[in-house]
Symmetry: C2
Subunit: 100 residues, 2 copies
């Protein structure tokens, strides 16, 4: 396989999560329209994990600097997130199991 990149975003929401779900859905839709976007997996329970997959590091930089995304990041820090961590990773190997 050709290496690609994953951005692992783990987060804890604050108590004030008003508007969060709508913004998260908007950002997911916007991410899907960016160059180099390959896919996204997102789950929230006790913590949230969102992993987006990208062709290369420049695609990730561009998405991080997208104006609408910057506005969302600002609101995220001010209101929604108690904590988050971002890890930028190179996917070196993968395999899959499918029980048809």
């Amino acid at each position: 396989m050709k290496p690609y990149y994953a951005v692992i975003f783990t987060s804890l929401l604050s108590e004030n999560s008003k508007g969060y779900n709508e913004m998260a859905a908007n950002m997911e839709n916007l991410a899907k329209q960016q160059p180099g976007f390959l896919g996204i997996d997102t789950v929230r329970d006790n913590i949230g994990i969102t992993i987006s997959y990208w062709e290369n590091l420049d695609d990730i930089k561009n998405w991080k600097a997208n104006l609408d995304h910057l506005a969302a990041q600002k609101l995220g820090k001010e209101q929604w997130y108690q904590w988050y961590k971002v890890r930028v990773c190179k996917v070196e190997r993968e395999y899959e199991f499918n029980n048809k």
Copy 2:
């Protein structure tokens, strides 16, 4: 930061998930005792995402080959998982936000 590794495990459970939660908790406890283990994040909702963090690729190989873990992997394929995907990644960069 010193690079380290992440194993991203995304999965869909089958309808027969009897015994799954207990085994998953056992495997998490066992993983924590392995050399090179750095941490684990796990969430399940529509899909499950478990990310374990390791010092290097050998640690990941050793954990994959652990006998109890192999037995769990076999049961997973036979009973619990409809689908899964494993990605082995090198964490190249990270940053964190903490709203104290």
